[in-house]
């Protein structure tokens, strides 16, 4: 077996052919370290790595690298997220060097939600480079030992490179090609947008497999359990690029008051079961938004415990 690209736990799990299970943890809107540690503790032992979001939905939070380090102190492996909205290529590359130097080994490369969504809509955005170019930059830094300028790096950062993929955004027919482009740019693994429309996702994965993309990159299917009917409606109507079928909303409505959350978890568990069997899927990325305390239960029900120790 050739040597690891980064040697992260996530990379080892995937390389070993184990079904990966990653979680997510949003940094606090403040410096409440204890709250972050508490959220992290729920995830410990349940997941192979934890995505640490970077000012998600353009709301200011503790920086993703700092929160990643706190998670690391808690014994979790961070998947450091970086968006192109808030940094130019100088800051991007220096942060990459910084996180690697402090022991971070996974990085998810994103464009980032537009600042109009967040709590500082008056801000100027950067978008010096885009997510595709970010993926390529991290790969060039790692494999060629070079900055974007072409200048050589003294001790290159070795990161396991992640990318996002939204199979439900439009134009639908191009999404699989965009995934191929991200893989060609250097993505080692991909985490998808939350999946609710399973029919459409099956179609998407069939195309992925037909094109052999799953052999070039690990694909983790994104799941966010629905907590309520209201959340399902919000996701369906307010979140761009999200595909929530009416049948799911009806299913959650059908179980009666106070039981939608349990039904949401049940649906998520069914999804994990199907993804375990689905060709081309290497794992699941569970984004239990502010529901970290339910992750032990979900991972138990989904039968993904114990996590491999490699």
């Amino acid at each position: 077996m050739s040597e690891y690209k980064s040697g992260s736990n996530l990379e080892k799990v995937l390389r070993a052919g184990q079904f990966a299970f990653t979680g997510e943890c949003g940094p606090p809107q403040g410096a409440n370290v204890e709250h972050l540690r508490e959220k992290a503790r729920h995830l410990k032992g349940c997941v192979d790595a934890v995505n640490v979001t970077d000012n998600q939905t353009a709301v200011v939070r503790m920086s993703s690298w700092a929160a990643s380090l706190i998670l690391k102190e808690e014994g979790l492996e961070p998947n450091f997220q970086m968006v192109c909205r808030d940094r130019n290529r100088l800051a991007i590359q220096s942060d990459i060097l910084g996180v690697y130097s402090l022991g971070i080994r996974n990085m998810l490369c994103l464009s980032g939600d537009h600042q109009r969504f967040g709590n500082h809509p008056e801000a100027k955005n950067v978008f010096d480079i885009d997510s595709m170019q970010l993926i390529h930059a991290v790969k060039t830094m790692r494999d060629d030992g070079k900055f974007l300028s072409g200048q050589e790096i003294d001790t290159p950062p070795k990161l396991f490179i992640g990318a996002a993929c939204n199979p439900f955004a439009e134009p639908f027919e191009f999404r699989v090609h965009r995934l191929a482009k991200k893989i060609a740019a250097g993505a080692d693994f991909v985490q998808t947008q939350c999946i609710y429309n399973m029919d459409r996702f099956r179609q998407f994965m069939k195309r992925v497999v037909d094109m052999g993309l799953h052999e070039k990159c690990y694909i983790l299917a994104g799941i966010t359990p629905m907590k309520s009917v209201g959340m399902a409606r919000y996701m369906a109507n307010q979140v761009p690029g999200m595909d929530v079928p009416q049948s799911l909303i009806k299913r959650l409505q059908g179980v009666g008051k106070g039981k939608a959350a349990e039904e949401g978890i049940k649906f998520a568990v069914e999804q994990v079961q199907e993804f375990k069997e689905m060709e081309g899927i290497a794992g699941v990325h569970l984004m239990a938004i502010e529901w970290e305390h339910r992750v032990p239960e979900i991972s138990q029900l989904a039968g993904v415990l114990p996590r491999p120790q490699l």
Partner: protein, 222 residues
């Protein structure tokens, strides 16, 4: 053209509240075409200022004049005898005009009467849309003649992002997703390979990021 919108009259009245002799200066260039700063609009603004000033009891002189262009020194010269009759000049040209005036007539008090918006064109009567960000290195031929730098909210060169839905941008249902248009057009033209080509980071030195720009064309310099 350069597209601008009028500043609210209220705001202009407030800007010039300490002056009683005001010249409204229009421009026959872009701002005439987009109905914001030509001779007609100069007349309307001058009347509005007269009314507002009289209402406040001031005796006031409001003149109006429209230049061929305000982005050319030779036309700016035209007001040299007139400008000293006024305490304040409200230019309703794009942002270039008031600056050329301020440079040529350092003693004059110059105020902007419009908010300059973007380089674009009219898509319907009364509706203008941005088309160019003036990045200094045009690449639209790679994108089916559509500019992702000016028209994608994130200026993505390898789009579309995951926020594109029903042909609209994630920031607003009123904003078309240019990447949706680019992808559909290139796929119709059977140019998937072009779409799959990795576009490297842009060199922004020719854009505003490289500092204030100046263009010298030796063959034209006398």
């Amino acid at each position: 053209m350069i597209v601008a919108e009028p500043k609210p009259v209220r705001e202009i009245v407030e800007m010039v509240k300490d002056f009683d002799r005001i010249l409204v200066l229009g421009c026959k260039g872009c701002v005439t075409v987009c109905n914001v700063g030509g001779s007609k609009e100069a007349g309307i603004l001058a009347s509005a200022l007269r009314i507002a000033k009289r209402r406040s009891g001031a005796s006031v002189k409001v003149g109006e004049h429209t230049l061929e262009r305000q982005c050319d020194p030779e036309y700016i010269e035209e007001v040299k005898d007139m400008i000293h009759d006024y305490d304040a000049v409200v230019s309703i040209a794009c942002g270039v005009g008031p600056q050329f005036l301020a440079e040529r007539y350092p003693a004059a008090r110059i105020f902007p009467g419009v908010n300059t918006q973007f380089m674009g064109g009219a898509i319907e009567h009364g509706i203008w849309s941005e088309r160019c960000a003036g990045c200094g290195t045009c690449v639209i031929h790679f994108f089916g003649g559509l500019c992702p730098i000016a028209r994608c909210s994130k200026s993505l060169l390898n789009g579309p992002c995951g926020g594109s839905a029903h042909g609209k941008c994630e920031i607003s249902k009123d904003v078309d997703c240019v990447w949706d248009m680019i992808v559909r057009k290139l796929m119709e033209q059977d140019r998937l390979d072009d779409l799959l080509q990795f576009k490297p980071p842009k060199n922004w030195t020719t854009a505003r990021d490289g500092g204030p720009r100046k263009l010298v064309r030796e063959e034209l310099v006398r």
